[in-house]
């Protein structure tokens, strides 16, 4: 069934039919914006990203730049199981595993690179991680760069803790906290 909606546009009056007056009014609007912004550029809406950023609104759970969480002793929680690398649809994670000399149970990542120029910020790596070692909660939105190598996040950059928020205190580190509490150590 085709429904027809008839739009009753107001017929133009004589002044509008001549165009000129309406054109002049339109030009006044745009010229006002032009001169206002020319002499007072602070009113411009543009954010000069990436040099300049705006805080993300509210408590919104945005997926932002990755980070690797650390344990209380400062070692990465990551056990180099390659699940995130396998899950990544953009193939942007590169891991090289190594073994602790004194711990034959688990491995650690000797190299953990995320190529931000390929990352599609889907969060699959976070979902896949069995150790809850990778998170995308830094609140930083990765900006552009002039060279590809500047878009590479290395292990050191990923292990950088958030300012003012030691990673051990995060809710995601509940297990670590419980473990430490059981051992009677205060954080």
């Amino acid at each position: 069934m085709i429904s027809v909606r008839k739009v009753n546009n107001k017929p133009l009056n004589l002044l509008e039919k001549i165009y000129l007056w309406e054109i002049a009014r339109g030009l006044l609007v745009t010229m006002r914006h032009f001169f206002k912004n020319l002499f007072n550029p602070r009113g411009l809406l543009t954010v000069r990203f990436p040099e300049e950023t705006r805080p993300l609104p509210g408590n919104a759970k945005f997926r932002t730049r990755h980070r690797l969480k650390v344990r209380a002793d400062g070692s990465p929680k990551c056990v180099a199981c390659f699940l995130c690398q396998t899950a990544c649809p953009a193939y942007c994670i590169h891991i090289e595993a190594a073994e602790y000399p004194d711990n034959s149970v688990e491995k650690y990542p000797a190299v953990f690179d995320i190529d931000l120029s390929r990352c599609v910020v889907c969060g699959m790596c976070v979902e896949a991680c069995p150790e809850d070692a990778i998170a995308m909660d830094t609140g930083e939105i990765p900006g552009g760069a002039l060279a590809r190598r500047d878009m590479l996040l290395t292990k050191e950059a990923l292990l950088r803790n958030l300012a003012g928020e030691p990673s051990l205190l995060g809710a995601s580190n509940r297990l670590a906290n419980e473990y430490l509490k059981a051992r009677g150590e205060e954080l």
């Binding site: 010229m31 914006h33 020319l38 550029p41 809406l45």
Partner: protein
């Protein structure tokens, strides 16, 4: 050789002066065109509360986007120069030249100043003082249609051809109006030489109103501006390109060939601005400034150096040109596009009768004043 030079001294000086004027004026125009490509983006950005391009930098200095024209040019140069397999190669190559040459040639008749006397030689500040300058302008702006149509036809692309068809219809139609709006000026000034027209605009009406064309032909000015924007194929008359629907006659062009079309359009903005200033706003005239200096209606006199007067006049012409360029940019970024039937209706049903009426009224008034 020296014998030849001595025998044809006037000819040699004339040639040399003309060459200097061409180099000086065209360099200024081309430089300004490059800046216009930036101005277009900056002006539109400011009108829309944005910043506009500001990233291209040399050694970290961006100067708020001043290097963008150079960056654009370099990018165009390094693009692949692609010719479609089925295109008419010869005409496809020829079309950008047809677009560019008539527009550039028109600067020959634009007077950018009165005259300067250097070492006893009186150099007119106009490349070629044609007695029929106005008709030269109309004739050459009529040639610009070849670039559009050849480009669209030679590409063998349906959308390009559609754009070219629209362009041909639009330019032929508005050509008529453009010519008729200027007839009023011909009647008022009684000359078709642009330099003579500008000199005539140095007079005063009733001793204090500058006798600019806008005073005699305010109505003609509006018609001229409308028709000129339509000739320029820019919004609100940009159906030829119609960026959002058909790409237009230069759809298959890439690299510097495309840049030639783009450049021609921007040069045409400057040309229209210069023509508007020359014909209707006194060209290089500064109100109350004469060869000897300022002479205000109250009897106040301020004698000025000859070179200072010439510089002031060139400055005046530049300021008027820049103002009209800016105005054309603002118009382009304010108005929405016409529909094609509206475009043709506006031309044939509104502008053409009004232009004829303008001629009639001008003639009647001149007859009444006994000046015809």
């Amino acid at each position: 050789m020296t014998g030849f030079l001595a025998a044809n001294r006037d000819l040699v000086i004339f040639t040399g002066a003309a060459a200097v004027k061409i180099v000086f004026f065209l360099t200024a125009v081309m430089g300004f065109t490059a800046l216009m490509t930036l101005a277009e983006r900056k002006v539109s950005a400011l009108m829309q509360d944005r910043i506009g391009p500001n990233r291209a930098s040399i050694f970290g200095f961006a100067f708020n986007g001043l290097f963008h024209p150079a960056a654009d040019g370099l990018k165009m140069l390094f693009k692949e120069d692609f010719v479609p397999g089925r295109a008419e190669k010869f005409l496809f190559t020829l079309a950008p030249f047809f677009a560019l040459v008539p527009v550039v040639a028109l600067f020959a008749v634009i007077p950018f100043g009165d005259y300067v006397t250097i070492l006893g030689y009186r150099a007119e500040l106009q490349i070629a003082d044609l007695p029929l300058g106005l008709f030269f302008v109309l004739a050459f702006s009529g040639l610009a249609i070849y670039g559009v149509f050849l480009g669209g036809w030679a590409s063998k692309n349906n959308f390009a051809l559609l754009g070219a068809m629209r362009g041909a219809a639009q330019m032929v139609s508005y050509e008529v109006v453009l010519g008729l709006t200027l007839v009023g000026l011909l009647m008022v000034y009684g000359t078709a030489g642009l330099q003579d027209m500008v000199r005539a605009q140095g007079n005063l009406i009733h001793g204090f109103i500058p006798a600019w064309g806008i005073v005699y032909q305010p109505f003609g000015f509006i018609l001229f501006l409308t028709a000129a924007i339509a000739e320029n194929k820019r919004t609100p008359f940009d159906l030829v390109e119609g960026e959002s629907e058909i790409i237009g006659y230069f759809m298959e062009y890439s690299s510097m060939r495309f840049a030639a079309f783009m450049f021609a359009e921007f040069i045409e903005i400057i040309l229209i601005a210069m023509l508007a200033a020359t014909l209707f706003f006194g060209g290089w005239q500064v109100p109350y400034l004469y060869e000897a200096g300022f002479a205000l209606p109250g009897g106040f006199q301020l004698p000025l150096n000859h070179y200072l007067v010439a510089a002031l006049q060139v400055c005046s012409f530049s300021v008027k040109t820049v103002f009209f360029c800016w105005f054309l940019l603002v118009v382009r970024w304010t108005l929405p596009r016409f529909r094609f039937d509206q475009l043709m209706g506006l031309c044939w049903k509104l502008l053409l009768p009004l232009a004829l009426l303008n001629i009639f009224i001008t003639g009647a008034v001149l007859l009444k004043l006994g000046k015809l």
